[in-house]
Each structure stands twice: as C-alpha cells, then as structure tokens.
Symmetry: C2
Subunit: 165 residues, 2 copies
Amino acid sequence: MNSKLEKSVDGFVESIGQLGSNLGLNKMAAQLYALLFMSNDPLSLDDMMKRLKVSKGNVSVNVRELEKWGAARKVWVKGDRRDFYKAELDVFKIITERLKTGLTRRMDETLQAIKQAEETIREGGGNFNGKDKKTAKVYRERLEKAKEIYWRLNGLIETASKIIT
Amino acid sequence: MNSKLEKSVDGFVESIGQLGSNLGLNKMAAQLYALLFMSNDPLSLDDMMKRLKVSKGNVSVNVRELEKWGAARKVWVKGDRRDFYKAELDVFKIITERLKTGLTRRMDETLQAIKQAEETIREGGGNFNGKDKKTAKVYRERLEKAKEIYWRLNGLIETASKIIT
DNA sequence: TAGTTCATTCAGAATGTTTAGAACGATGCA
DNA sequence: TGCATCGTTCTAAACATTCTGAATGAACTA
C-alpha cells in the first residue's frame, strides 16, 4: 500500500486512541476501532497486529471487546477460515450509551451513599448534643445540597441522551 | 467527634472518590473535595491527612490541585499559622467546565489529525492509481464521516454546557 | 492421522500512576 | 540565634493497568 496513505491513517488512529483514553476506554480498543473504521475491507487479526505493531493476544482481546460493545462485528470471508472484523460505522450512539451507563452506575452508588449517611444521622436522632448536634445539622444541609447536584447531573445526562438519539 | 457521624461521611467520601476516578479526576483530590464539602469549618492539612489516612505530601499536592481548579480555597484562621482550606460549595460548573476543556482539547487534536489526513490524500492527488485510487476514495469518505461525528459530539458538548450554566 | 494455521487464554513482564515519607526551606517565636 | 512547626518537593516503593508471547486447543487439509 502507498505508505503516504498509510501514514495519514496512522495519525488518525493515534488521535482516536488518545481521545478514547480520555473517555475512559481502552486505548488499544479505540485504535483498533479507528483502524477498522478507515478500512473498506474487513481485517484479520494478523492485518491488525501488523498494522498497529502489537501482539495477536492483545488484538484478540480488544477486538472482541469492541464486538461486545457493538462497535465491530465479525464477518465471514468466503474461502478463508480466519476471523475478519469490520467496524460498525454508526458507532456514535453505542459509545455514548456505554459512557452513560458507567457514569450512571457510579452516580447511583453515590446517591446510595448519601441516603445511607442521611439514615445514619436520622438514627442518631435526638441523641446528639452540643457540638455534635450542630455537626449533624450541617451534614443534613450538605447532603441535601449533594442530592441537588446529583439530580442536576442526572438531568444533564438524560438530556444528552435524548440529543444523541 | 461522634464516630457514627464520622462514619456516615466516610461512605460519602469514598463514593465521591470512585465517581471522580470515573470522570478522569484524581481519586484523592475527589475525596479531599468531598471531605471539605461536608465540613463546616475549614480544615488544615493535618486534619485532612488524619481523616483520610494519607500522607501529608499527598494532601498538600492534591488540595492545591483543587485550589487550582477553583474547587477549594485557602482561608486564613486568625491566630493560626497553618493553612486551612474550605470547599467552594458551588462546584458543579467548575468540574463540568474542567471536563469539557479536557475533552474539547482531545477532540480538536482529532479534528487536526483528520484534516492532516485529508491534506495528505489531496497532495497525492492524481498520482494514485489502481487499488490506491480506490483506497484514497474510501479514506476521503470515511474522514468525511469522522468529521460529521466530530461536529455532532461538539454540538452535544455545547448543549450540555448551556444546560449547566 | 499428522501437520498446519488459526484464535484464545493466561502468567508474568513492562509500563504508567499514585502514594509514603524523608529532606528541605520558610516562618514564627523565645 | 536556636528551636519548633509548618508546607512543599522529590525519590523510591506500592499499586494498577496493559501488553507480550508461549501454551493450548480447535478447525481444517492432505
């Protein structure tokens, strides 16, 4: 292949890897996706490992990760028993959904922690006195504020979700 | 301090640490923020290191990181030469801005990589023939598609940004 | 069946990130 | 000035993540 053409794609692949990392995805998976995205023909594991200069094991694991996300799919090439993969080109929604899921889960855990803290304070009830009473009051206020932030973030994610669809 | 009260906050702090990690922030910084957020009085480095059971160096670096972000500020306590910090309670916008900045920078780099690739192909111009000519055509198409995705993501970020304000 | 080619798995190597804690300089005070 | 108490910086260690490459077994061929 024309090495200039190849190099131009390398830059893109590299950049998508960085972007993926920034979004908490695996760099290799992101690079693999970019490579598949730019390729017209499906690629074999060998194609990918040669192109990205990484081990076959690495490609194997990560390309199946992409498949799991719905970002790539295995295709059958007549007369060849190797596995070939091609990119799901319309991946935008898939990735954002994935990011949303991770974030939502963490946020829900935080909401649980907030509720748990509130419960603990409620249990303490009238038993607090002096300094502790004041502290409990501040805690209740802050936890309330934390819940507000939770709901704002939640609304933001929902809105983003709708925009994507 | 009432240890039940303290424990209830610990759960919250822990959870915010996890959430912060998920957003690409430093776990310690996130925990420190949560701790300051819950505290009515400003805290000294010693207070924080004891509470989170981490080294003073660690606290020093990360609390100043928070200050840099505008998420915490140093306050002067009369008659005490130690540094005290308190949380900027309305931190929502600050954090999201920060996340936006990071993401936007990466995306801009990707856009540059796309444009660079396009330029390289354009330079090749009519010199491609046969297989390469076809490849160049596919590349142009895919890069066009990549730009589309870039602009959609960009729009999404902009919209989110407006919602936050 | 023996030999070849493939994908997968997994232990440990390589790499990247975070932390502890010692060393240091600055500040305040007697 | 000498001592005590801070905050900061830095190195090496701990820890977490990612990657390689050898081992394995499945699928195919002659």
